[in-house]
Amino acid sequence: MSDTAAIELVGVHKDFLSHGDTVQAVKPTDLAVGQGEFFSLLGPSGCGKTTTMRMIAGFEEPSGGTVFLDGNDVTGVAPHKRDVNMVFQSYALFPHLTAYQNVAFGLERKKVAKDEIRRRVGEMLEIVSLTGMEKRSPREMSGGQQQRVALARALVNGPRALLLDEPLGALDLKLRQQMQIELKRIQREVGITFVYVTHDQGEALTMSDRIAVMEGGRIDQLGTPREIYEKPATRFVAGFIGTSNLLDGSVDSISGGVALLVFAPEEKVLVPVPPSVTDGTKLEISVRPEKIDLSRDAPAAADCSVLTGTVREVVYHGTSTNYTVRTSAGADLVVFDQNAYSAEDLAGPGDRVYLTWSPQHSYPIGVRP
């Protein structure tokens, strides 16, 4: 893979000295980002995602390991000699230069001919819909426009990869959603590898081809948005991406690759498991709230998971209604019910209810195949 990956990290780690102790901001990490991929580093603040990106850009030197860009070892190469460009969280536009001059800055450094610069800057400003804004200075532009200048300034150089550090963090919700779609469009249009750092799981799920979820300086899980959402590898990933319900239990029997966990008479959970799981194995099972059906009547089907419980809370969210149910299995489960069909709440606080879901919607966390 090393000859084709746009970016590859091999055993890269970063240690900081803090009050005499060595703290590993990034633990030894291997990572390969493919050509033209929209790749997200997702995690809470302090998880090492920004440090990882800054090591790719060259602003931080790894304490160990190797950084490859297009198969070339760039460890120790200064940022201005690396063929990647970055969009900063604060945009970091040059306040004393116009939008045009900001975008032309990188090309001027490469001694590109004047006519060529004019043509490429014009093209890029068109892609980010800023034609006519050439002479504006950054302070005369809105947050969204500044964001586009920052994007154009980086992309115009045709970098091997574009690194984006929480670029939408400063925008309001509407503009942020609009820019998410814009970013995705621009990425398709220019065909450049994007590495996107964010703490916003929604943003990462919407835009990314693949996501690396980071926690405590380590990648917890790397996969497509669907894999990460449907099959969280760790308890942290399950909790950080969306809302997750976790159930603890041990396997009572297995038949046909599906484990049966019995919590009470008529209360059971079915979960597909790999062969490494046997009778008595302790499992942590994740179920997404929108997969669960809630009803006051006992279910008819026998081949699905069933738990009973008492409704504790009902919250109306417009598109869905969220129920929190204390189950007899011990855990509180959250259920999302789409308001497409229900004209009124399925149950109220204090009601006894049945929760049912199909076996394929249970997923055992952290089980080796």
């Binding site: 201005h80 970055m86 900063f88 040059f94 306040p95 004393h96 800055f105 990188g106 980086a154 150089n157």
Partner: protein
């Protein structure tokens, strides 16, 4: 409300009265060497402003020293201020301490020790030693002003320049310097102002050279000629012009 207004006018009078007296007596039609009683209005001193050779020479020395001080202290102070504002390095704390010590140490002490230094080194006193002394005490002021500006500068702006292919040199001149230029300018003006009217340190380090303040000090014993008021007025006017110009520029910048 009325008290506040009266208070304001009192402060303004306090600040401007000495300057007004200086300006007014530049138009005094005094017959003799004493310029202390009002003898009627005249413009003749403005015509004869450079009539006193010694005074003119002293003013030229002062201007040359002040401009040199401004340039040298500006260049060195900017470097120090930038380094202190941007990096934490071995000895940065010490440099901070030395700078504030220089700014707060009494001029008498500074002047006396500079004289001792120059004499023990066998350096002939004159315009060169005055300039060295002035640069020495004004560097800290430039550095402090520049450092304050650098501290407010977003680090990632310089990183963005590096990211776009600019090496350290280009980044400084194309990005950092334009952004700290206002601070560098104020620092240099401060150095100029400190230098042109310095008396104490200059008196110790001048030898037989006479600067504008030194000449005036000497002349007060026999009476100040009105040319001193005229020159003082002109220097004051240049200062006012620069201040007004800076304000207008700052305003149009904000508005535009």
């Amino acid at each position: 409300m009325r008290i506040l207004r009266a208070y304001t006018w009192l402060v303004i009078a306090w600040l401007t009265l000495p300057v007004l007296v200086m300006i007014v007596f530049g138009f005094n039609d005094t017959p003799g060497r004493y310029n202390q009683t009002w003898d009627g209005f005249t413009l003749k001193w403005y015509g004869k402003v450079f009539a006193l050779d010694e005074l003119t020479k002293a003013l030229v020395v002062s201007l040359v020293v002040a401009v040199l001080t401004m340039l040298i202290a500006g260049a060195l102070g900017t470097g120090i201020g930038y380094a202190l504002g941007r990096y934490r390095f071995r000895g940065s704390g010490t440099i901070n301490l030395i700078m504030f010590a220089t700014m707060s140490s009494p001029e008498l002490v500074m002047g006396a020790s500079l004289l001792t230094l120059f004499v023990s080194l066998g350096v002939g006193l004159g315009a060169a030693t005055i300039t060295i002394a002035h640069v020495m005490f004004s560097i800290s002021f430039v550095a402090v002003v520049v450092r304050a500006r650098v501290l407010t500068l977003d680090r990632s702006i310089e990183e963005a320049a590096a990211d776009l292919g600019a090496n350290g040199w280009t980044t400084f001149w194309r990005v950092t310097f334009p952004l700290i230029l206002p601070a560098v300018g104020s620092g240099m003006l401060l150095a100029f102002a400190l230098s042109i009217d310095d008396f104490v340190v200059t008196n110790f380090t001048a030898g037989t050279t006479t600067t504008f303040p030194l000449w005036i000090w000497g002349a007060t014993r026999v009476g100040l000629p009105p040319q001193v008021n005229v020159m003082g007025t002109l220097i004051f006017l240049v200062g006012v012009l620069i201040a007004v110009g800076t304000t207008i520029r700052a305003r149009s910048h904000r508005a535009g």
